[in-house]
């Protein structure tokens, strides 16, 4: 049997060269080496998330500052950061500052977190062999950052202990997130209120909105509909205009997406 050679590649296993020695013909499937211990997986996750964890500190600092500017107590901002462990607490805090009821803020945050369902379902096949308690624990550590790193990792090689990879990366992200929140809470307490620090949250959302909207037409339709309706319906009681705007924007975006898919398939058929 000919010896197989595996060449690691940053582009993943699909692009990796699986060649028989001395031949240019693609060879049989070659499994990449897997970490043999949970510790190796944990350290790999930790290592992969170091730059992301460091860059998340400023974002969470902005959240802490915005929370203090909105009059949210320091302990509550920190508790919210632990409980939600996402970036959506910034939206909730902004809504509270604008006088929205707690249920509207919670509903908005939950809607923003809907993407985690996608993450979780995408990772599910990799976790199906694990015991239920591992999956219960791993669920808490699925974030944007850990999902990106774990998905990249799984594209490159089979991971024997994906839960430990998640614990390593997610634990570091969690520490960075809480540190940033605490720092922001301290800064928000120290800095004067007339510095308009609450505007930092709006700027962050504006940047994210532009990034998400300018990707395809359905997103642009969603943003336009939701934004304009939110302005028009802002006087509804209990900030219900916000919820209506979100639902209407989502419906408009889905319609646009469906229309585009139908027209694309019609073009393909022709």
């Amino acid at each position: 049997m000919e010896k197989e050679r595996w060449q690691p590649s940053a582009q993943g296993p699909i692009a990796a060269k699986h060649l028989v020695a001395g031949s240019a013909v693609p060879a049989l499937v070659v499994e990449a080496p897997t970490p043999s211990s949970w510790r190796a997986s944990f350290l790999a996750g930790l290592h992969a998330c170091v730059p992301l964890a460091l860059s998340i500190v400023p974002f969470m600092t902005v959240y802490g500052v915005a929370a203090r500017a909105a009059g949210v107590p320091f302990w509550f901002a920190q508790l919210l950061s632990v409980a939600i462990f996402a970036r959506t607490q910034l939206a909730a805090v902004q809504l509270l500052a604008a006088g929205a009821p707690g249920i509207v803020a919670a509903l908005t945050a939950a809607l923003m977190n809907a993407r985690y369902i996608v993450y979780s379902m995408t990772l599910a096949p990799q976790f199906r062999h694990l015991a239920w308690y591992w999956r219960v624990l791993a669920g808490y550590f699925i974030t944007d950052e850990t999902y990106a790193t774990l998905a990249t990792r799984l594209q490159q090689r089979q991971e024997a202990h994906p839960q430990w990879f998640l614990f390593g990366g997610g634990g570091l992200i969690w520490l960075a997130s809480q540190s940033g929140t605490a720092l922001g809470g301290w800064l928000g307490q120290t800095l004067p209120a007339d510095w308009s620090l609450d505007f930092t949250g709006t700027l962050v959302f504006l940047a994210l909105l532009v990034l998400l909207s300018f990707t395809h037409r359905a997103a642009l339709v969603t943003a336009g509909t939701a934004g304009s309706l939110a302005v028009v319906l802002a006087d509804l009681p209990w900030r219900l205009g916000l919820v209506v705007a979100i639902v209407a924007g989502l419906a408009a975006g889905l319609l646009a997406q469906r229309w585009h898919s139908a027209s694309a398939s019609a073009e393909g058929g022709a």
Binding site: P58, T88, P101, D144, T202, T215, A226, A234, I246, G249
Partner: protein, 223 residues
């Protein structure tokens, strides 16, 4: 209020864990994942628009009378210019936006404050951004299918296609720089070949195009 907000934590957890706990093999339908990606866009738009256009509770659509709206309009080109690097966009927007707002306030007669610690932190975020995994890495791999013998094994891996549709912070594959490519990526009928590389392109089309361009498969098709 506190109860509702604290309930958001368990709800968020359930969203994260539902797939791991319930789903065994089936992945989410593509349309459903696309819809969830749009939810983030809708929420952000509904949050941003009133805070910019109704900062004091009434409509103020004139940027000359509304400094926040003016600042938002001024930082838009910066966001579009830096859009390939998410961390740079976030940090650059906050830095430039707050700087502009403070400058405008100073021009209006209010003292100009300088937040040194916050600025340093945000700058640190900018400097760290290039070392973060870029979305392109997640996207490029599935666009290059391996030989047929690898395909079955690759089917069990985590698909990267939903990544770009989730609306996550670092997983958004953004159009190339420049206004022209940006517009072409949104209105793909102008250049059909570019459409296959855009994030909104259906995976079926992208895969088909990549397969046609794979030499050994093309040769087999010719045979």
């Amino acid at each position: 209020m506190i109860i509702f907000l604290l309930l958001t934590g368990p709800v968020t957890y359930l969203m994260r864990a539902c797939g791991l706990l319930l789903v065994r093999t089936r992945l989410m339908p593509r349309q459903m994942s696309s819809g969830m990606a749009l939810a983030s866009t809708a929420v952000l738009a509904a949050l941003v628009a009133p805070s910019l256009l109704r900062p004091a509770g009434h409509l103020a659509a004139n940027p000359l009378n509304n400094p926040r709206l003016l600042v938002a309009l001024l930082v838009l080109p910066l966001i579009l210019a830096l859009r390939r690097n998410v961390q740079a966009v976030l940090s650059g927007t906050v830095l430039s936006g707050m700087g502009l707002l403070w400058a405008l306030s100073w021009l209006a007669g209010v003292a100009l404050p300088v937040s040194v610690p916050l600025t340093l932190l945000l700058l640190a975020g900018v400097s760290l951004a290039p070392s973060s995994p870029t979305p392109g890495r997640l996207r490029r791999a599935p666009a290059r299918p391996g030989p047929p013998c690898h395909r079955d094994r690759d089917a069990n891996r985590v698909p990267a296609a939903p990544v770009s549709r989730t609306g996550s912070l670092r997983s958004v594959r953004l159009p190339p720089a420049g206004v022209g490519p940006l517009l072409r990526s949104m209105w793909p009928s102008a250049t059909s070949t570019h459409w296959r590389d855009t994030p909104a392109a259906p995976g079926r089309l992208r895969r088909a195009g990549a397969r046609r361009n794979t030499p050994h498969l093309r040769d087999r098709a010719a045979d």
